[in-house]
Every structure is written in structure tokens, then in C-alpha cells.
Symmetry: C2
Subunit: 189 residues, 2 copies
DNA sequence: TTTGACATGTAAGCCGTTACATGATTTA
DNA sequence: TAAATCATGTAACGGCTTACATGTCAAA
């Protein structure tokens, strides 16, 4: 009876709690810092997961009073939670995530647009990808010198390579569009 | 009053209907053929969209009786539907799709795994990416010779470049893991 | 004095999935 | 005779989002 399958968000929370105990509020901050790049979670989502995980006894929360600040509930991973996390981490069979990409939906129906409008879409995607590329390149370089951030760096590197792929694609699209414009205008003459 | 924002799935259906009228059943088949790579939709999803789009008068359905086959409802795009589609297609501001990737969640917590277990994850991702690469490379090449499939090819090319990016990343991870194993064993001596 | 950080949650609702339900016809 | 294709949908539910609700304290 291997653990009931939980949403990935559950394991993301378990993973964070495996590094250090935290309140829901603190988890939300941590998510924005690291995981959000490839697994965004809203505040409500996190609080909801904590309820679920506590019912499963995968985490246990205890109130911690603070001076001059509201009392918070700090959660820590239980051994059952750690076992569930590790089991999931080892599964190489990540259910195939269908990557949804509305840019490609637009591209597919590019026939309905003018060449200029298509270019605008491609350029916008390129600009976005370049920003992402620069952002991730910085992070990857920074983490290079931090041995303990080996795995964090690897996730950023994945994003970097994919941003580069998008840029390469955009460049190819621009070249193709130019070539297309030539053959089309010549066939019109 | 630019159109109320509909889910991307609505526009995907409108896009397909802009190419030819079709029944829900036929749309489901078309989705599996092309769009599913970057915007999968279930049968129920499609039927649901058709209900919504018909209420909005973006499509209109009419029953078509068939010999020896069940009657079907064939939908065609209305001019209002075409306008809504084109407006959406032109928007270069695709709301940022959070690309969710559970592999990266696992990688981020790679510290909890042994080097072998991490390798297994990376290898599995590599195998999957290679299959995807090969599949898409074939499609891109095939569509190369079909001028009318220009945009379909461009979507496949995007997927191809991203599969290559994943492969490149996996290769880097393997190299890093090897280097890491060396420095770690030497520091243990 | 108002804004922002700290802190926790509920409510409503959308998008989408899987499973279920039905029924004729064709093919193996 | 069983399975697949054609054809349309409903039901139930899961995951997640946004907006709402509340309240203290520190800083600008």
C-alpha cells in the first residue's frame, strides 16, 4: 500500500518542511523564492495543504506565541511525512505533465493573422524569454559558488536551457518569416 | 468592451472551427492529432466548451442526420466567434502560463536522495525527452515539405527545441554528478 | 495616519478530469 | 460474439485561484 497519491503541491510543502519547520506564512514566502518558478502555489493553496497534511499526520503543527507579533502555527514534518515524501521523490514516473502553452495555440492558427501580427507574437515571446534567460543566468551563476545549492541551481539551469530554447525558436521563426516573405512576394510578381 | 476573457480551451475550439465546421466528436479527434501536444482537452471539456460558445453565439450548431450513423450536431463559427478568436490571437500578452514541472520539484529536494536515485530521475527524464525529441523531429521534417502546414510545423519545432533543451540539461546533470562524486570522494580521503 | 509586514484562514467559483450512461453499427 | 467506432452527454469531484475577512504592530 504505497501512499495514496497526493497532488504535487502536497509534496512541495512536505519538501519545504523537510528543510526546516515553518508556519504557513513562512512557507508562502519560501515558495515565492524558489519553487514558484516551476510549481507556483497560492497562499490559500498552502494553508489548504497544511490542513490536509495534518489530517494525514504527515505534518504536525504547534502554536508558537511571539512577542508583539501574532501567534503562529509552526509545522514540522513527521516521520510518516518524511517517508511519504521520500517515496514520492524516488518515483521516476512523474505523471506526464502536459505542458500547456497558449502561445502555441495562437501560432497554430497563425494563418488568421497577418505576417506582422505573427511577428509581434514571436517577438513578444522572445522578449519574455530573454528576460527569463537573463534572470535565470544570474541565479545559476550565483548558485555556482554555493555547494549546498547544488539542486536549486539544477532547477534554475533547467529553466535557463528552456528559455534559451525558446529564444532559439523565436530566432528561427524570424528567419523563416523573412524567407517566407521573399518566396511569397516573388510568387506574386 | 473587448470580449470577456474565456479560457484558452474556448479559443482552441474556435480556432479548430475556423478551419472547418465539425461536431464535438470530430473536434475531439482533431485535438488529439495536433493541439494535444501543447493544449490537451478531454472529450467532456470540448462538449462543455461547445455549450458555452453556443450560448455566447460564437458558434452555431445544426443537426445533421446520417445514414446508419447517429445524428450529429455540426458546429460552425459565427462572425462574432471569428471576431473573438482574432482578437485573442492578436493579444501578445498571453497571461503568463506557470509551467508546472514536478521533475524540478523532485530535483529541488534531491538532497534527500542518494546519488543513484537522483541519476535515475535524470535518466528517466532523459529517456522521455529523447522519445519526445525523436517524435517531434519526425513531425517537423515531414511538415517541412507541406507549405500549408507552416504554423503546425512551427509548434512542433518549439516542442523539439524544448526536448533538446531537456536533453542538454540531463547531459549536464550527468556530468555534474560525476564531477561531484569525484570531489566528494576525494574530500572523504 | 496610513501603509506594509505579520499571520491565518473562509468562500465562491472556474477549469478540467475521470467515470458513468446510452445506444446503433461495423468489424474481427 | 465481442470489441471498436460513431456520437453525445451527465455527474462527481479535485485542484487551484481570487477575493474577502480580521486583527496587531512597526514604520513612513
Amino acid at each position: 500500500m504505497p501512499g495514496a497519491q497526493l497532488p504535487v503541491s502536497s509534496y512541495a510543502v512536505l519538501g519545504l518542511l523537510s528543510q526546516s519547520e515553518a508556519s504557513g506564512y513562512e512557507l508562502a514566502q519560501q515558495v515565492d523564492g524558489a519553487i514558484a518558478n516551476f510549481w507556483p502555489m497560492s497562499k490559500s493553496n498552502i494553508y489548504g495543504e497544511l490542513v490536509r497534511l495534518e489530517e494525514l499526520a504527515f505534518v504536525s503543527g504547534s502554536e508558537v506565541a511571539q512577542e508583539k507579533l501574532p501567534t503562529k502555527r509552526v509545522f514540522r514534518l513527521t516521520s510518516a511525512g518524511a517517508a511519504a515524501l521520500d517515496e514520492w521523490l524516488r518515483e521516476p514516473t512523474f505523471r506526464k505533465e502536459r505542458r500547456k502553452n497558449s502561445l502555441l495555440v495562437k501560432m497554430l492558427f497563425g494563418d488568421r493573422l497577418s505576417a506582422e501580427e505573427v511577428s509581434r507574437l514571436v517577438d513578444a515571446a522572445g522578449v519574455e524569454a530573454e528576460a527569463e534567460r537573463a534572470r535565470l543566468a544570474t541565479i545559476v551563476t550565483m548558485l555556482e559558488s554555493v555547494p549546498s545549492a547544488y539542486f536549486a541551481r539544477s532547477t534554475a539551469l533547467f529553466g535557463l536551457r528552456h528559455a534559451e530554447a525558446t529564444l532559439a525558436w523565436a530566432a528561427e521563426m524570424r528567419r523563416d518569416a523573412a524567407a517566407r516573405a521573399r518566396t511569397r512576394s516573388s510568387s506574386l510578381n
